[in-house]
């Protein structure tokens, strides 16, 4: 009896400590939120600024609301290829004479079309092909005379850019810079020109670079092959089914005109969102944004993605046969991140598969010792559209995918039928909070978070509010979403099967 009372007291103490901590956190988020302001230009382009005056630096994040999910067959990989082309300069950057090189581009494009139709037509004429190729090389050499190699990149680097990069995902294309903060206007000038007057020069060479990137990151990595085939099986209709880097045959055949059309549709002002975080003044940023980015045309709204992934009719299994030890991936369809079930699904993913005290780690790694690693992907391969929550296991030596699957299934049944413990729920909530705080420490990651929430959730403020949503999750919610989504019919299993064991 006495012990019980002590226990109750302890719980009250712990709860009140947690509550106090949450309050402190909410306060520090409120004060951060107050440092953020936004401004939308007449052409629809939105600028978000968070002032942080600790160090004289700033991070710049341009979020183009376009990614591999906007592609259709024939142009897969074009979002990523365009990201590469956005480093090639403008009418004045990267060239010695734009008018002269432009004429060569037109000839090259015609010639390339002829090469492709000859090479892939019926009965290719090899003599003709070789003549065309020689001509093409000559034009390429001539075009090279006008190029200033990597001038755009050099301009940024020379100003001390410590984070110049760009990323393409299924949902978005993002351009990043980190500069000393007094380079604000320089960034405005170069970046606005970059999206106002892009020139897709060195197009055919850059396609080769992207093909090497496909070989590097996808074709010659067992996991890369698994991911490609896994997503192709899990999504039969929605464009999440092809990889961001695209199919090799599409990369080969995409034309410069395809890229120009794509750019025109998806890179208008209203489809771009910018966040600038660091030692800048919001007023100054908005003033300059108007001057520089006000020049971008408004344009019509880009076409939305039409296809919705239909309900799955039965379990799908895909095996990738490769010279590698086994790996297992089990994915279930789930709704987009904006769905009200999202918080409960995050809790489920965390409790099953994230951390050393997660259920999969405890069962497969620590207890049964049949896996050396387990984990969860939630929001895979994107979050804007309905996607997957997936569990992964890396079998230990002399253990198999089948053994791992059996234990994963056991954990999935358990989470459907028993409420999670209070301890597990606390772990999820605390680790999410810690993650949100850690993501708010660096200019670059804050800028990325602000644009993400603005575009995906329609409001950057939700970056700070997500913790409130998390607080509401109950064990019953988790059980409910587990029953709803984690069904055999709704799942896809992907496996790496060592080559000589393939069945």
């Amino acid at each position: 009896m006495k012990q019980k009372r002590l226990f109750v007291l302890l719980i009250i103490l712990v709860l009140s400590l947690c509550l106090m901590a949450s309050l402190a956190l909410a306060q520090s988020f409120d004060s951060m939120k107050k440092k953020v302001s936004e401004y939308t230009l007449d052409n629809g382009m939105k600028f978000i600024v968070m002032e942080r005056h600790d160090a004289p630096v700033a991070s710049f994040h341009v979020y183009a609301n376009v990614g591999a999910a906007n592609e259709v067959n024939g142009i897969t990989g074009i979002s990523h290829l365009l990201e590469h082309m956005a480093f090639k300069g403008t009418k004045t950057i990267g060239t010695k004479d734009y008018d002269a090189e432009k004429k060569i581009f037109e000839q090259m494009d015609k010639l390339y079309a002829e090469i492709i139709s000859t090479k892939y037509g019926l009965n290719p004429d090899t003599a003709k092909l070789s003549a065309l190729n020689t001509k093409f090389t000559a034009l390429q050499d001539e075009a090279k005379k006008y190029v200033i190699n990597n001038e755009l990149f050099d301009l940024f680097m020379q100003q001390g850019d410590a984070g110049i990069n760009a990323y393409t995902s299924n949902d978005a294309t993002q351009y990043i810079n980190s500069l000393p903060s007094n380079r604000l206007e320089f960034w405005m000038s170069v970046t606005s020109d970059r999206f106002l007057n892009p020139v897709f020069r060195e197009f055919y060479k850059e396609k080769k670079v992207v093909m090497e990137e496909r070989r590097l990151s996808l074709e010659n990595q067992p996991i890369g092959r698994l991911m490609e085939d896994f997503l192709a099986s899990a999504f039969k209709a929605h464009p999440y089914h092809h990889s961001v880097v695209g199919h090799m045959s599409d990369l080969l055949k995409i034309t410069r005109q395809d890229v120009a059309n794509y750019f025109k549709e998806y890179y208008q002002a209203r489809n771009l969102t910018v966040a600038i975080v660091g030692d800048v003044k919001a007023k100054e940023v908005f003033k300059l944004a108007k001057i520089y980015f006000g020049r971008l045309p408004k344009g019509p709204a880009p076409r939305p993605v039409r296809t919705v992934e239909p309900e799955q009719w039965g379990e799908r299994i895909v095996k990738v046969s490769v010279q590698s030890q086994p790996i297992l991936l089990v994915g279930y369809h789930r709704p987009a991140e904006t769905d009200p079930d999202d918080a409960a699904l995050s809790a489920l993913a965390n409790i099953i598969g994230q951390g050393r005290s997660s259920r999969l780690w405890e069962s497969l790694v620590k207890d049964k010792k049949i896996a050396i690693q387990t984990g969860t992907f939630n929001g895979f391969p994107g979050t804007k559209f309905p996607n997957l929550v997936a569990f992964v296991a890396v079998p230990a030596k002399n253990h198999t995918n089948d053994e791992c699957l059996e234990l994963i299934e056991k954990e999935i049944e358990r989470i459907k039928n028993e409420p999670v413990t209070a301890e597990e729920l606390t772990k999820f909530k605390q680790s999410t909070k810690k993650g949100v705080i850690d993501g708010m420490k660096q200019n670059a990651s804050i800028a990325s978070t602000l644009t993400y929430f603005e575009v995906i959730h329609g409001d950057w403020g939700k970056a700070f509010d997500q913790i409130t949503e998390i607080e509401k999750v109950t064990p019953e919610d988790i059980m409910r979403v587990a029953k709803k989504y984690l069904t055999v019919k709704n799942r896809t299993i992907g496996e790496i099967v060592p080559e000589n064991e393939a069945e």
Partner: protein
Amino acid sequence: MNKKIFKITGLLLVFVLGLSVLSFAQKSPKSKFDFPPLKKINIPKVKQIELTNGMKLFLVEDHDYPTIDMRAMFHTGSVYEPADKVGLASITGDVLRTGGTKHLSGDEIDKKLETMAASIETGIGTTSGYASVSMLKENLPEVLGIFADILRNPIFAEEKIELAKIQARSAIARRNDNVHAITGREFNKLIYGADSPYARRPEYATIDAIQQKDIVDFYKRFFAPNNMMIAIWGDFKTKDMVKKIKKAFAGWEKRELNIPPIPKVDYKFHFSVNYIEKTDVNQTNIMVGYIGGLMNNPDLPALNVMNKILSFERMFKNIRTDKGLAYSVWGNYGSNYNYPGVFTAGAQTKSGSTINAIELMLQEMKRMKEEMVTEEELQRAKDQFLNSFVFNFDSRGKIINRMLTYAFYGYPLDFAAQIKQGVEKVTREDVFRVAKKYLKPDQVQILVVGNQAEFDKPLSTLGKVNVIDISIPEPKVEAPEATTESLEKGEQFFLKTVEAMGGMEKISGLKNFVSSLVLTQVVGPNEMSFDAKMISEFPDKLKMIMKTPQGEMEIIVNGEKAIMKSPMGSMPFPENQRKSLLANSARDPLFIAKYLKDYQIQFLGNKKFNDKNAVDLLFSKGDNVFHIYFDAKTLLPMGSSYQETLPTGPATVEEFVDDFRDVAGVKVPFHSVGKANGKKQSEVVIKDFQFNKSLDAATFTIEK
């Protein structure tokens, strides 16, 4: 007149002003920007304290976020582990965290920390160990308590050691899965030497050899407060934090440590071409290089500038942008704090442009030595370095961690600022001088990992090719220790089975055998069968002739030599497969009986094999270690098992034999099935079998 001039000037002025008003609207990207002066970097005060037990603290407050982080460093490392226990340092670093303490089990620590969203991680690398902590500030008392407990009172529970060993063994089994991992690892071995403490990797045998006592001793040798430096940053009051640290580590006393200096690196410059075959890739991984230097080299600023120019201005701009040959390409003279780094240039390119890419990389290295870099290249490289310097100080975590690193390796705390001053002074001549001194395109070691069949030119165009075998040495068969008794019993039992097989006299008279058979191979989802003939002369001559759909294949092994013939022509038979074939012959009970004195036979008692009662004998002949299971009733062999490395990694191979028939008074199994990791690989059905045939003298001849 004056008036007129004034008027004209006035007009001009208006005109110019007008222009500038217009141009105020936008500045073109390449125009000159008048950057407002950059605010001074506000470098926070870092408090440095040495406690009486020798622990050195670096603290900086950061009240923007309700978190606290720590990072400790220790002088230790895998360079100090014995060569027959490679993996000891890494396992010690891992189990320090997972193995629990006198007060809490490892699992309890996991749960407690994760419920607070806190993390503590520990690890030991090549020449240092670390312990890091991250937490919400309200959990400081509890997390700090666990942190101190882990460092002071670890118990290295056996169960968690076993778990770490499983992880280590699995990592060995997986180490050839990824082509990038292979390239990095093998390149390091080329530079530092395969057995060097800076490059060697754990093997099954070295992991198996590690005992709990080794781990405890290794921990004790290095983990003491006077060997610990720790950086602490976050939302706390310095004075208060120092008090808490003192309290948490109170009673952890300073003690005499005997840590020898890290081993020296001995390198002789030479040219070499090295090849590792990966048949399932369409892109080649290339690394070329040689030994690099130390960070305290006075040439470091000039080398930094040279690296930027070589990597970006030359390799990237030419090989990637202009030629489209690679996604990633680089050239970098590497320097470490305390032992020589490595110069590497590398790229990944499609198989068909391998040699071309290598030649271009070497050419760019040569060009750096032959012509001075341009003023523009120098300016860009320096501007980039100098203008981005402020980013070294944009967070308190970065500032304090860099300080910790410098202090740990005995560098001046303002080392970064010294390098900056150095870079400011670097001239074209300096870059030229260091390029001539440190770039050695004629003395590079080249490593190529890929599929030679698809290369643009033979690799031998570059020089004599050294083929590197990366097959994974087999795990040791786990067996109880042999005793005189178990060995005696083993031999006695085996002699009984020899009688059952036909008797020693008959068996020792066997010289050769010839058999016709049907061989079935499992290939992916299909089974393929073909007729084959096998001729064997004891002890080390073999000939296999297989009638495959592609034509007749022939393999001849004659002692140390082996060859493979097909309709496409002859080619050398891979060395590891030659050994594997001969090892296989030596697992035949008849062979063992003939050469009994070469074997050690251990009696392991009764076992179930293939669901029948069997007697398990463990045979070893050198590193050929295997079990043979004998039927407890008939005493005839039922099958064998052993560990072997297949192309997919290590496997347990089992062979099942039956259908014994009498051939010249000796019992021979006419049917066998081979399995790897429980899955069927092959099956043999013998059609005809004869001993002691007279063989053509040329049967096993291998022509040059």
